[in-house]
Amino acid sequence: MNNGRALIVLFGLVIFFAILVTALINLQVGKHEKYKFLADRQQNSGSQIIAQRGFIKDRNGKVLAFTNNDISFFVDTRMLKKGETEKIAEKFSEVFGKSKTYYKNLINSSKKNICIEKKAPMEKALMISDFTIDALYKTEDYSRVYPYGSLASHIVGYVDLKTNGIAGIEKQMNENLTGENGYRYIEQDVLGRMVSVNEELSKTPVPGNDILLTINKDYQKVLEDELQNGVKSFQGNSGVGIVMDPNNGEILAMASFPSYDPANYNVFPDTTLRNRVLTDTYEPGSTIKSIIMSMLLEENLVSENEIINTENGRYKIKGARISDSHKYEQLTVREVLEHSSNIGMVKLSDRINPNTFYKYLRDFGFGNTTSIDLPGETEGTLKKPANFSGISKAFISQGYEISITPIQLLAAYGALVNGGYLYQPFVVKEIKDFHGNTIEKSEPKKIRKIINNETSNKIKEFMIGVVESGTGKAAQLKDLLVGGKTGTAQKLINGRYSSRHHNSSFIGFFPADNPKIVCLILVDSPQIGRYGGQVAAPIFKAVAQRIVEADVTIAPNKIRIDRKEDLIEEMFADINSEGIAPEILNTSNIGEETTVNRIKEDYSNRTTMPDLKNQSLRSAVTSLTQLGLKYKVIGTGKVVEQSINPGDKINPGDVVLITCRATEKLKGLKIN
């Protein structure tokens, strides 16, 4: 009856099925990939597991930085069921000791997620591990901990909130420290709850490597303490200190003052964050003179006892005035360094040609970064000979017209005292993986040999002289011979050399006979005192003293050094403790006879005339003063004749005539 209408229905049916089949083909064949991707994306959630960041340790394994795997707890208030707020508050107040109301108010204050306990330590977090409420969840929260606070902060550096290294070793070794993050791919249901872990796609994190530094935490502490004390007591703007092993370039301590706390670096001004040792260039002043002297010695252009006319403190070269703060008529070459005579150095440096001069400075590492394994190093400026003016050499010899970084100078001094090898300074001693296996071990890197051993020994002697009888007396240790050089440089402020702002520095080494440590102290703009010998040398002394006391391996054989200043005290001391004869220093392997004689001979209580022959003029005059004798001097150089013969009885007030002559050796030299 209804065939026509049945056909219409059939027709509709066929069209309808065709549409459905098309839709299915479109979904399941055509757009399959798209929907598969959508399905995977919502069903699987990959969460990153941050690898534990490696430790930073000092050379003895003391931990300077580590990571705490803390747990933060959150409540999603939208998922809270009745009564759960109460339960959570009760549990948390039980574990963390805060009041129940505190947690309740916290939870009630939020409409979505709220952190109710931030960075809870793992052991506390474990106490909550069996407490499950859907609305409560936790995330691992890492925090970087620096157990010694600001100690070594400029070396260790700091990390940002995502524990990426931003400065120091944290930055330099970031890749090593970071490790490999793991991933956990989980299948999650519609509420985001984990159903299973996809082992195939998941990866366990590999903890970061540990970095062992060359730094000795104890030295670092000493250096930072003394630098801080020093800068504060001399009212300096800032200070820098570095301690290095000259025999391999290992940095043992490195400090910049003012310092900062790496855990809260963001509250400290930028100026404190800088590692001044590497970033700040300065004109070194007289500390450069040892370097200049070594090249003159190496090139055989000077001789130790050669007499230099120091013009009584005033001199003009090519229109430039050179003056000495302590005026001398004349000085031997050695004394030029000991007393840091500008005029002496200017005259001596005139003997070397600009290219050789430049080559040595370049070889000592000036004008180039030292390539120390810390970020932020600058290279300073060293003029090329082509750009030298007529007085460039003269000024560079006094430590002007050249700008250097503290680390460059220290590396150069390392070469001066270790027999002539320039080492690349470094702070990373070893890289170990999580299990303690060594991955990489730093080997000392000799860059080049600059001077030979004899020159090195000679310049060491000179620098011992600086401390024993020159500008660096304040650096003398009671029972250990040290060498060094002072430096005082006027600071260039607004294009003029300021007479009130100085960079006062001292760079020294010890033990003098076999240097195991070189140490640079630099104080910027001290308000009390000015000269390196006044400001930096006492800081150096304090550092050296404490290091030697703390670490017996540095100077195992301590020897009492008798110095004239000590003698009066000694005399009184001897009355109380008779028979205790101080061991007399034997420095034959480093010092020349004369130097040692001067130190060890006891003049003040003798009544007979000593033998002054072959002593330097200055040394002889010192002795005569001590003896209370009046004297007259003829000529310069070494004493060749004395009016009172050795061994004759003398009385205070007697007059002695001494005749001096320049040494034979010097005759071949041109004297300008």
Partner: protein, 409 residues
Amino acid sequence: MKINYDIKDKFDFIMFAAVLALFTFGLVAIYSATVTHPTAYGNFQKQLFFGGFGLVIFFFIYFLPSQLIRLSAVPMYVLSIFFLIAVLAVGKVISGSKSWFSIGPFGFQPSEFAKIGLILFLAYWLSDSKRDINSVKDIVLSLAIGLLPIFLIILEPDTGTAIVLFFITLVMIFWAGISLFGLFVVLSPGIVTFSSLFGTASLIITLIFVIIALVIFKRNLFTSATIFVVNLAASFFFDYGVRFLQPHQQKRISSFLDPNADPLGSGYNALQAKVAIGSGGIIGKGFLQGNQTQLKFIPEQWTDFIYCVVGEEFGFVGSIFILVMFLIIFLRLLRLTSHTKDTFSSLIVIGVLTLLLVHFGINIGMNVGLTPVIGLPLPFLSYGGSSLLANLVLMGIVFNIYRGKKHYQ
């Protein structure tokens, strides 16, 4: 006329096999969707029980004398209207709708029962020889028979079932032999209203088509004008109608019109269903391997979204299998309509066919993203005792009709 005593002529094995296949496939899918579910894990057993119970009823009805069905038509309709009123008074509210009676541990949905009542009574009424389906009075009356339960069901509210009953009413009137003009009068207000959903432009265009149709039909001016005004009024009053809809239903309509507007709101289910089916690919992820299903991305998947379980775990192959089974049932039903012994039976069969087809069309349509998300179960597959029982009762009636069909070669 030669009487063939072959058992095949008494029982449609092909259709029965298709129904069984769908039911079995449904059981498999329900098992997969609920096996790990914390609250719905018993649904497989319940469905199995209802299936068994339903088959007993199916065979009971199959063996009933044919006259009983005709006799039951009026009481069934009256009873279903009574139930629909009663449920509004004392029914249980489940997910926003007052559509359930609780009888001990089981629930009973009068709207399912109303489907049977409407089909039987409309078939009874339309097949009465006194009726002239092209008279305005009888058109209005037959529409009223359908609109009474529809109105009550909208009050619950249960839009899905109301739509099903509306289509049943329309198709049965169509099947009863309404003229083209009559059909136009019945249908045009609906079409105009629907087009108004897409904006003023489409409304105006549709109204122009209505005017053109009226000109073609060449009826008197009064009739034409009345029809046009009714059309216009329908679209204007639809706005008020929409306000009567529940907010979630309003949202469903707007999310159907622009599915990308609110992907995480009412479009969520539709999107997740598409993701499930689409990610299944050609051969599917395998039984119990569908992550979308197992991870419960689709809420209440064992009811209206059971087709995505099939689509995800058995892929294109499984999806097409379901379509083919339904196609077999529809074609067998359509074939049966022209072999029934009387118009009453034919109208029942076409009513059942319409019911299954609308359920099937809207359900599959919303699963693959062609129609809005309207809560209608997929016959024989979706979990749900009332729906399964109602469908098996209707199949029992259809098979009873098949048993008594004309046998001529």
